[in-house]
Amino acid sequence: QETLTGVTYIPPSYEDLAYGYQGFVEAVNKADPDVLQLDFYDSGRLLKADEQLPALRSGNIDLMFHTTSYVTRSLPILGILGLPGVVEALYENPDRLKRGSPLFELIAGELEKQDLKLLTLGGGIFEPEYIWSTANAPVTSIDDIKGKKVRVVSYEATDVIEDFGGAAVRVPSSELYLALQRGTVDAAVATISTINGRDLNEQTANVYRLPLTAFAIGIFMRKDRYDALSDEEKAALDAGVEWFDAESVKAANEEYFAKQYWPAFKEAGLSEYQADEAAMQKLDEVSEDVREEWIGQVGDEVGRRAIALALGKES
């Protein structure tokens, strides 16, 4: 019997995200118990988020769940999942990221060049990151971003916020709650999962639904480690991967975000502002640089093909 050590830094309290990895672990462990088992550690209790990739590279762990936006500058091809101007199309069309789709295969192929095996991207991206602002400094349009201090993590969001005249601020996640409460920052670019998980809804009164960036959660292994598995072991693993590809993002976006979090937040008084056509157009123009920079990182041919596939302009 083979045992694989797997990790995620996400704690079970993020039910929307934990649903996926817990289901995966369960499916693998019951697929063929005599052949393959997963020894799984959540909550970052074995490795913090930033140390997962080095530990996977060294062979210390066999499998990791990783939020793609955390590693887009190490594994640039994953940047396609968070490109402004592209994420809306990917979010609307999750099939474009399912296993076996041309875009998925393109991404997996690029990662193989870095000796990594991408098993799945969860079957799509999570609902994009929007701008959540406090009652004292509401951001309800693109013009409102000017002069505001906006907490960002990824460089894609940094570029766009700066291009709209806002100040991109880095604040550690443990201090974000206080930073919003006391006006150290006016707003944060985040998914609803983060807002809910860190109770930031207590400190934000407005959400401007401008899809700035997004991410998926993928399952990664080292390529040589994966190739060394027997066919039976791969089949057992595949049982979990199949399930994860079909269910994880779908459940988060539909069962948790749409059915639970959004209604609860609005009930509690959150004001919601949609991005209109003009705003989307402006975002698209401003983020041209971000996309071009990304294409520069992954190579012209791969980059343009990936964007075309994501936008459904090629198949």
Binding site: S13, E51, G59, N60, P172, T184
Partner: protein, 432 residues
Amino acid sequence: MIEPIIVVAVMLGLIAIGAPIFLALGASGLLGLYMARGSMAFFFGPTSLFGQLNSFELLALPLFILMGNFLAATPVGKNLFHAAVAWLHWLRGSLAISTVGASAVFGAVSGVSIAGVAAVGSIAVPQMLERGYSRTIAAGSVVSSGALAMLIPPSVPLIIYGAVSSVSVADLFIGGIVPGIALATALALYLYIRVRIYPEEAPAYDGEAFTWGDRMRALGGIWHAIILIVFVLGAIYSGIATPSEAAAFGAFGAFVIAVVIFRALDFKGIVKVLGSTARISGAILLIMGCARIFGDYLNLVRVPDAITSALIGTGLPPEIVLILVMLVLVGLGMLVDAVSLIVVSVPILLPLILALGYDPLWFGIILVMNLEIAVITPPVGLNLYTLKAVVPTLRLEEIIRSVVPFVFVQFALLVVFVLFPSISLWLPNLVR
């Protein structure tokens, strides 16, 4: 389960022969990882250490040590304690009790307990020793009250618990206030009773009587300290800085007091302060990093899970189970750092707590009260090592011995809050 026992024994053995604490924790942790997974697991050494230390929140430690070192070059600490004597000399043990008060105030500035120990300890301990207080009272009052920073908001552990448990951070912060004040009061009360019984531990003031003029003049000597506290608190509460950034404002303010106002440091003196800050912080941080290697070993072989699960299966009455849970948390708190304790134990214990019908908000408060004990109990008790680092004249074994009675006081108070959840819930319920 023999391997974890070997690993703990190796760690204790290394500490006993005088090996540096970081070495005892790191080497025994790596040995455990090797026994569990072979040489591959050695890689957890660098990843654990690096991951633990690569943290913006930890900046508060070197920066508050820097603040304390700058202030140590000035008469500010002396003035503060002179004022305490002038106003409180009729109260035996007043300096130790004032130290608890100072830690509580500092608790509103910092969210990390070692920062409190570093800042308060470097000033308070030398002053108490100079005035003839016993070494164990001086050390014990600083080390135990330094942990108040975790209960009194802002609090990093409560934020982490909020993230792990989905309890509102705002409610947790409000919930921390009453236990924080209760703990400060309990420590002060204990000190008061102790010096009544052992008067030689805190000599009565035998100088000249203070006139009201003396008292007012004494207050005039502490305005630097008051401005500094207002400056740092102001930076946090006005939103200029986050709590870890505010430490930099504290260091900067202390620099101005030492160099500009008192002209107590020349260029060479400043270099010396910076150098000792770097080394003291380095020594504490290295222990912290190696504690994480040790903790990762325990996590890899799932020791905390095994112990807590065994507890849940006992089928005893809820109150007994709760007290046992507290004892287990204190035991685990001796071996793992505060953050690990939250992250590992909450997912296992919270379902049990909810099943027993308790409020998760209450459990968060109780858990942080446990951490107050965890940070002062060896071998993984960072407050102890922090005090040793900032006051090198104290012996580590002295410091460890000094906290024993304080641990009992804290545990007694913990039991009260465990058995009467309404005490910790009334304030949050009032506000909710």
